[in-house]
């Protein structure tokens, strides 16, 4: 994910602008390097210890079949290739998606407290997922857990948008309020479904894990769609960086700068909700990433979305890979849902940062 519209010509710039531009590119290259290193590091470590040469051989044998021989132990092959690698890559995709959508939604609502779930997307996804976990896929017409979650997210998104409409207009305030209200209704439905199935064992723990947000069930086939959507929307939003900046300055300023505020908000709502819906379906609702990363990045690169968006995408990816690594190794063989770790680690760090500034 490289930024597309950052100034590259330096001859007409003041010295401080040149410095800022160079600093920005160094940061991007640094983050990209950090991302690659984090991926390699995270694939090499897990609940089961696998020697590094074996890890490299497993990945090599799948990428270059015929050139590199498969490893002798099928279990090691399965752990690296089927479980660990897709999980780490999914962490990159989900982390990037949450950070990018959080950034866009904070601009759209002009509210620093906005996070990707503000419009009730995760509450809708939860109902879908919990229905499948507690009733079984068969009862739900064979719909898989992630499809059910996505449909739930889509449905809540449409509901919020419809409920927030007034004379064909949906202001950010009405959207947020409709989202919050619907979230409460839907979490009541989720709680009821969990209580209904609360027999000993009874899958209640599986539901709680999903609600807390987990990457533990990552599969290769879950990667394609979210990756495509994340890359597409990130570039789309970077291309819209100027209207996004204008929106941050206020509706009147934005209109003055030639932005059709009404329509632009609708587009933002659609794009971000789709993005969040796609990732919530495969990861549950992982809190705090979409709130924290955008603020953190703005502290470093300023508030220009041409700089913020590519940086949050890379930063969100690095962050979630490392946080998930902590969650799956700290109590091995037991696992902590990544959503618990993001909040437990991210919260205090963020507060410390706020106080330092």
């Amino acid at each position: 994910m490289t930024p597309v519209s950052t100034p590259t010509r330096t001859e007409n710039m003041r010295p401080d602008q040149v410095r800022a531009a160079t600093g920005f590119w160094s940061l991007q290259i640094g983050l990209l390097t950090a991302l690659v290193l984090a991926i390699l590091f995270a694939v090499g470590i897990g609940a089961v210890a696998i020697p590094l040469p074996i890890t490299v051989q497993v990945i090599g044998s799948h990428l270059l079949p015929g050139w590199i021989a498969p490893v002798a132990d099928p279990t090691q092959d399965q752990i690296i290739w089927v479980f660990r690698l897709p999980r780490v890559l999914l962490a990159v995709v989900v982390g990037a998606a949450l950070a990018v959508s959080g950034t866009a939604l904070q601009a759209m609502t002009r509210n620093p407290l906005s996070d990707p779930y503000i419009f009730g997307v995760s509450a809708g996804a939860s109902v879908g997922a919990v229905l499948v976990i507690t009733l079984g896929s068969a009862v739900m017409g064979g719909v898989s857990l992630s499809l059910a979650a996505f449909l739930g997210a889509l449905l809540s998104m449409i509901l919020v948008y419809t409920l927030a409409q007034q004379q064909g207009r949906a202001t950010p305030m009405r959207l947020v309020l409709a989202g919050v209200a619907l979230s409460y209704v839907l979490s009541a439905v989720t709680s009821y479904l969990v209580l209904r199935s609360a027999t000993p064992g009874g899958g209640a723990a599986a539901v709680l894990t999903w609600l807390a947000g987990s990457l533990g069930g990552a599969k290769w086939e879950q990667l394609g769609l979210p990756s495509a959507v994340v890359v597409l929307t990130t570039f789309l939003l970077i291309a819209q960086a100027r209207p996004l900046n204008a929106l941050m300055a206020g509706d009147e300023t934005a209109t003055g700068l030639g932005v059709n505020v009404e329509r632009f908000r609708q587009q933002l709502f659609l794009v971000t909700s789709l993005l969040v819906g796609v990732v919530v379906a495969v990861s549950g609702s992982i809190g705090f990433v979409g709130l924290m990363i955008p603020h953190l990045v703005r502290m470093v690169v300023g508030s220009d979305h041409r700089r913020v968006l590519p940086t949050v995408a890379l930063g969100g990816g690095v962050y979630l890979v490392l946080v998930d690594l902590v969650g799956r190794t700290i109590m091995a063989p037991q696992e902590l849902p990544v959503g618990i770790v993001t909040a437990a680690l991210g919260g205090p760090f963020f507060l410390w940062l706020l106080r330092r500034r």
Partner: protein, 206 residues
């Protein structure tokens, strides 16, 4: 508490604390064998302790002893059939597709030991935990017992079959759904022992 009980039977499942109940003037009997995997140091005999104690409380000790003898007869018959078999590594799986909810030491584990099984997650410090998918893949599991609580049992068994094709339990078709009703402490526990034994050594029952 509205019913002003003279006697309160508690599985310590958190509806009221022992102190609260005692404060209401009722007498308390806290059972030895508990649900949901029980306590880490649970023994199969805990259920006999409960039957015996309740026999005393209600003045029907003779019937209690008769019931214990009846249960033990079934257990003896089952364990005799599977005696001398090679020990098998067993995972008792609840739900979840990553992480997976499995049972560690506890009352289900006690039934397992009785019939010659070894809990693949006996090293857990809790009776129930969420373990990572790769830990499950690496444990060389011979039999998977899927806890049945509703209609999703077979679907959860299919998840195990689909996800771990190289696992011995899957290759040898030893992924079995057993109702929690048979495993949870109670007078049907001898049936649980029988179900576990059949899941581990079906050939001994042919």
């Amino acid at each position: 508490m509205d019913n002003q009980p003279d006697w309160f039977y508690s599985a310590e499942n958190g509806f009221a604390t022992v102190d609260e109940i005692a404060g209401s003037g009722a007498q308390i009997y806290s059972i030895a064998a508990k649900c949901g995997g029980g306590q880490v140091d649970a023994q199969f005999e805990d259920i006999y302790t409960d039957i015996r104690n309740m026999g005393q409380i209600f003045g029907v000790s003779d019937q209690a002893e008769a019931l214990i003898a009846e249960l033990q007869a079934t257990v003896d018959a089952v364990t005799a059939k599977v005696a001398g078999q090679a020990p098998l590594k067993v995972m008792i799986y609840d739900a979840g597709e990553g992480p997976l909810g499995v049972f560690g030491p506890g009352s289900y584990d006690a039934i397992l030991r009785l019939v010659g099984g070894e809990n693949a997650f006996a090293d857990l410090t809790e009776t129930y935990a969420q373990v990572s998918i790769e830990a499950v893949a690496s444990r060389e599991i011979d039999v998977v017992i899927v806890g049945g609580y509703d209609d999703t049992g077979e679907a959860r068994a299919d998840f195990i079959r689909k996800t771990f094709p190289t696992m011995a339990a899957v290759k040898n078709e030893r992924v079995v759904v057993i109702e929690y009703g048979l495993m949870n402490p109670g007078v049907r526990n001898h049936l649980g022992v029988e179900a576990f034994a059949k899941a581990l050594y079906p050939e001994a029952f042919e």
